[in-house]
């Protein structure tokens, strides 16, 4: 099969509805969040007292050694898990379960294989009762933004891994979430596709102004994308470093003069975390 062309897609307009009420000063607030599981002898402390606030519009990357609980942290914000200590708040409201105010992109695309690509993107709009015409319009807009207009009527299994992950991003953005939660979304892709998708998610973030919480095990990815880079320690996961960065606003973060120093700071913290 010839590899499908993945052209640079045109700009994405911001959703017409505001993604989050502007009155809140934090999109996500983590208040002394702890999580442990298992009982008695096998009890494991996955996260220990994580305290952080994510302002609207931030691109927060979370990096750390494997098993540090960074995916667990994302699943707590998503509402798939409930903290055993502390609380998670999204736009000022405590999280009690999953909801359309938080879009999730998994490591595996997890597209619904029985729906077309367009059906997947429209799923959240349908579930929340958006009328048909409006659904079509919004799905077309999002598919255009991720460069999948021509693949709209295909089934997910007919797409390459990179295209599937683009569709998953479009699907997560469709209901206009206050924050986009991404759990190592590019880890399963080849290097070239990964780099292209990193550029694309940065562009989508810049044009829509959406808030992103992005978990990765790659220091390069965390530095390239994050306006704030959080480094988690090995289990029990604690916040080792919370480093602000202007790099994602630079024209080309990878060749920016500030890049090497920042990369070294983060890499050193991750080495400490793994030690």
């Amino acid at each position: 099969m010839p590899s499908p062309a993945e052209p640079a897609p045109p700009e994405l307009t911001a959703p017409t509805e505001p993604a989050a009420p502007a009155s809140h000063d934090a999109a996500v607030a983590l208040r002394e969040v702890s999580l442990s599981y298992g009982r008695r002898r096998t009890r494991t402390q996955a996260l220990d007292g994580i305290d952080a606030e994510i302002p609207p519009g931030a691109f927060v990357t979370v990096v750390g050694p494997s098993g540090c609980g960074k995916s667990t942290l994302l699943r707590l914000v998503a509402g798939f898990l409930t903290p055993t200590g502390g609380a998670v708040e999204v736009t000022g409201r405590p999280v009690t379960g999953p909801g359309p105010d938080r879009g999730v992109v998994f490591q595996q695309p997890r597209l619904f294989p029985w729906l077309s690509v367009r059906g997947n993107v429209e799923f959240g709009l349908r579930a929340t009762g958006v009328p048909r015409d409006r659904r079509r319009e919004r799905a077309a807009e999002l598919l255009n933004a991720v460069g999948l207009t021509d693949a709209a009527d295909h089934r997910p299994h007919e797409l390459s891994g990179g295209m599937q992950q683009r569709a998953a991003i479009a699907r997560a953005l469709a209901p206009g979430p206050a924050i986009l939660l991404m759990d190592e979304p590019f880890a399963a892709l080849d290097a070239l596709t990964r780099e292209r998708l990193q550029e694309e998610i940065r562009r989508i973030w810049q044009t829509t102004g959406t808030t992103v919480l992005f978990v990765t095990h790659s220091v390069d990815e965390a530095v390239y994308l994050g306006t704030r880079v959080l480094v988690l320690s090995r289990r029990p996961g604690r916040l080792l470093l919370d480093h602000p960065s202007d790099l994602p606003h630079a024209p080309d973060p990878r060749t920016d003069p500030a890049h090497p120093a920042l990369r070294e700071t983060i890499a050193a913290a991750v080495r400490r975390a793994a030690a």
């Binding site: 879009g103 998994f106 579930a127 997910p156």
Partner: protein
């Protein structure tokens, strides 16, 4: 793109796929003919292919003022049997999917009904057919009910297993997209279980097929099973063999149709 070599390989594969089964059938026919012609056993044990062919013609036509077999043409017997299979399977599949969803989704229902489904599944259909006749008489109702009871458990078990096997992140993704309440079982659980449910349906139709002959042992004319049963009483072995062949061939065709439906309905099977 396919090059010349690729085309040749495809043609060869296709030829092999059609030629081999045809060759197998021909060899079996030749064997059958040879054994019958050798007169090793009398025709009442091994009727000749010619005799069976003759019965096929006789039962499919009106001759000597007699219409087919027992007043019905062969295709009418087949249609009667297929109608019972269709109705029984349809009820069984509907009930099986509903029951399987409940068993898979509700732990209490699982604890209550799971042993019962397994119990019914292990019973030979003929065993409860007597009970159904006492309850419902000897017309269509006990036959359809028998096929329903036979077809339901495989679908229920397949559906329940598939429902429990739905990947948690499909449910997580759906909830994160705002789906709630009835939307989860209807829009996520059922479609993602579809490939396994279709396998259950194929098993169920197969079971209904094997059960229909049992159902037609009582007041089964018109019906292929009834025809076989009556022919056995009069030692019309050629007619018995004809009935077997008709059931077997039509079963193969229906299974092929179901496989096609499965590929159409769940083209992602094995690719996610």
């Amino acid at each position: 793109m396919l090059n010349g070599k690729g085309v040749a390989a495809v043609v060869r594969a296709l030829a092999l796929r059609t030629a081999l089964p045809v060759a197998g059938v021909l060899v079996l026919l030749a064997l059958w003919w040879a054994v019958a012609a050798s007169r090793l056993w009398p025709p009442v044990f091994v009727p000749s292919p010619g005799a069976v062919w003759h019965q096929l013609i006789a039962t499919s036509t009106v001759h000597d003022g007699q219409r087919g077999y027992a007043g019905h043409l062969l295709h009418e017997h087949l249609a009667a049997s297929l109608r019972r299979i269709l109705l029984g399977s349809l009820y069984g599949i509907t009930g099986g999917v509903a029951l399987g969803l409940l068993i898979g989704l509700v732990p209490t229902v699982r604890a209550l009904l799971s042993p019962l489904v397994t119990f019914v599944r292990t019973l030979p259909p003929l065993a409860y057919f007597s009970l159904l006749i006492i309850w419902f008489g000897i017309d269509e109702l006990p036959k359809t009910t028998l096929l329903l009871i036979a077809a339901l458990p495989p679908v229920a078990v397949a559906t329940a297993e598939a429902v429990r096997g739905v990947h948690a992140d499909y449910l997580n993704a759906a909830r994160s997209l705002g789906a709630r309440g009835w939307q989860i079982p209807l829009r996520i659980v059922l479609p993602s279980a579809l490939p396994e449910v279709m396998t259950g349906v194929r098993v169920a139709v197969g079971v209904a097929y094997t059960t229909v002959v049992a159902a037609e042992t009582v007041n089964g004319v018109p019906g292929i099973g009834g025809m076989i049963r009556d022919a056995q009483r009069y030692n019309q072995t050629d007619l018995v063999v004809l009935g077997l062949l008709v059931i077997g061939v039509s079963g193969l065709l229906i299974d092929a149709a179901l496989q096609l439906a499965e590929r159409r309905l769940a083209p992602w099977r094995g690719r996610t």
